[in-house]
């Protein structure tokens, strides 16, 4: 590992351009990448003792989650389990208990791709080394993107949590080094690769994630489904976070976010629009998802995702809208 200066941030108010460095939260992704010398920061700023450790209800009914809340504590929170179960489920489908105990809300959003060529410093990778090429394009790309990719990068974002956050219309609150704060919709925090795959997200250097807001009155029916190669402890091949209401039997407020398919959590807005106001049926689900997949492109090993995904989403929608389940919940 390359040497670096280490310091601790006492509070977000102490952010300054002088103390700039890479933020260290749980370290479960950053330390790993530093051991591989894929990340080589000159300075680390430990933010785990800078506050931001509360989950609180806001006056407008929304829930504010401090960025230092661990994945374990967020998944176990009773408000989250009751009103935002898709988030609790997504977190629990991720990683292991040991990792979730350290992983934070902020760090989970900003974890980097698991593309094996990104990790292998002997291979070409535009994300790690801009301009070097992309060995995944003609290599082992079973885990790679089918939506929104570019000729420079076909990596996917690996987070489960971020997919649920996108479906819940969560908003990320940040503070820049000059003190300016902003709110970014969770589904717009990450970017598509375009010709700059080295940039995963829209945050500026030194911009700190302070908290995440979950809007009040989320859709009542929610679920997360993850398809993976082992029954525990594996990244998603594909995943889906779905939230909706049923109004006189018709689907409303439909939100679908997909994981394992793009450089960011993918809001399936075409499918959402196609389903809104419709009666639930398998034909409807598949038709809506077919529309969402109209521009999907495989790269060989991952072609199967184009067929798999509509069936995964249809399965979740079927389970959520099944009369027995809906009856249970009212």
């Amino acid at each position: 590992m390359k040497p670096f200066d280490y310091s601790r941030l006492d509070s977000p108010d102490a952010l300054s351009p002088l103390g700039a460095g890479k933020f260290l939260a749980g370290g479960t992704n950053l330390i790993d990448l530093m051991k591989h010398e894929i990340e080589t920061p000159d300075a680390l700023v430990d933010v785990t003792r800078a506050g931001m450790k509360e989950i609180s209800q806001q006056p407008d009914g929304s829930i504010r989650i401090g960025s230092q809340i661990t994945n374990t504590d967020l998944a176990a929170n009773s408000d989250v389990r009751q009103n935002y179960p898709v988030l609790s489920e997504a977190l629990l489908w991720g990683a292991t208990q040991q990792l979730r105990n350290k992983a934070t809300t902020g760090g989970n959003f900003l974890q980097r791709t698991r593309c094996q060529y990104f990790y292998d410093t002997a291979r070409a990778c535009n994300k790690r080394d801009p301009g070097s090429g992309c060995d995944a394009m003609k290599g082992l790309n079973r885990f790679h993107a089918i939506l929104g990719a570019s000729s420079s990068c076909i990596a996917v974002h690996p987070s489960d949590m971020a997919v649920a956050m996108a479906a819940l219309d969560a908003e990320v609150l940040t503070r820049k080094v000059d003190g300016v704060e902003r709110r970014i919709p969770a589904s717009e925090l990450h970017r598509l690769p375009g010709d700059a795959p080295e940039r995963d997200h829209v945050l500026e250097n030194g911009e700190l994630i302070m908290a995440v807001d979950l809007p009040a009155s989320p859709p009542r029916l929610q679920s997360y489904r993850k398809i993976r190669d082992r029954s525990s402890y594996a990244f998603a091949v594909v995943s889906a976070a779905v939230a909706l209401d049923l109004d006189d039997g018709r689907m409303s407020n439909v939100r679908i976010a997909l994981g394992g398919v793009a450089h960011k959590p993918w809001r399936a807005s075409r499918a959402e629009t196609a389903l809104e106001g419709q009666m639930p049926s398998r034909e409807m689900f598949l038709k809506a998802m077919k529309e969402e997949m109209s521009e999907a492109q495989g790269h060989g090993h991952n072609d199967f995702k184009i067929d798999l995904l509509p069936r995964v989403v249809a399965g979740v929608l079927r389970d959520l809208t099944a009369p027995e389940r809906n009856g249970d919940r009212t």
């Binding site: 051991k35 208990q97 350290k102």
Partner: protein, 170 residues
């Protein structure tokens, strides 16, 4: 030249002070500076669980954590679980159920399982639990222990050992 950093940390009830290279992982600090060689370096990348320690009551992968970030923390390693020569209930259960072969993964397995029992008491959910109740205990244990790999494949006896103690508790 990058500065060394002061650290004050309590490990197995004993306070230590040291000046350390900020790059040092908690695992290397315990093994090399404190001579606590129970925690093992299996993968050094958070994938196998052999380095599991309990920090402020929660199990973590000590290989992915910088020692310097544990200022003031309370750490327990496998060396801190027995009271003198009295093994903990889980340690005894691992012996009784023959829950290891080569033993390399065992310190991590037992630290992990020790924290697991507290998580059950605390009511922390897992992905196999339903909203208001746990799944069958062996299924909960398999899911909750998935961060601890065993190259010898002693899994069945590991589950049996933990189950024998978790069963006592409920």
């Amino acid at each position: 030249m990058h500065a060394m950093h002061p650290l004050r940390i309590t490990v197995n009830g004993q306070e230590h002070r040291a000046d350390i290279d900020p790059r040092r992982s908690l695992l290397d600090f315990a093994r090399d500076s404190l001579n606590l060689t129970g925690p093992k370096k299996g993968c050094d990348h958070g994938q196998c669980g052999a380095c599991t320690m309990i920090v402020n009551g929660r199990r973590i992968n000590s290989c992915l954590s910088l020692a310097v970030s544990h200022e003031g923390d309370e750490v327990t390693t496998i060396e801190g679980l027995a009271e003198g020569s009295d093994l903990s209930a889980l340690q005894r259960a691992f012996v009784e159920h023959d829950a290891f072969q080569c033993g390399f993964c065992t310190p991590g397995q037992i630290c992990s399982a020790t924290a697991l029992l507290d998580e059950l008491k605390e009511g922390l959910p897992s992905v196999v639990s339903s909203p208001d109740k746990l799944a069958e205990m062996d299924e909960e244990i398999r899911e909750r222990m998935s961060g601890n790999l065993c190259r010898c494949g002693a899994y069945n006896n590991i589950v049996a050992a933990i189950s024998s103690v978790a069963g006592d508790k409920s």
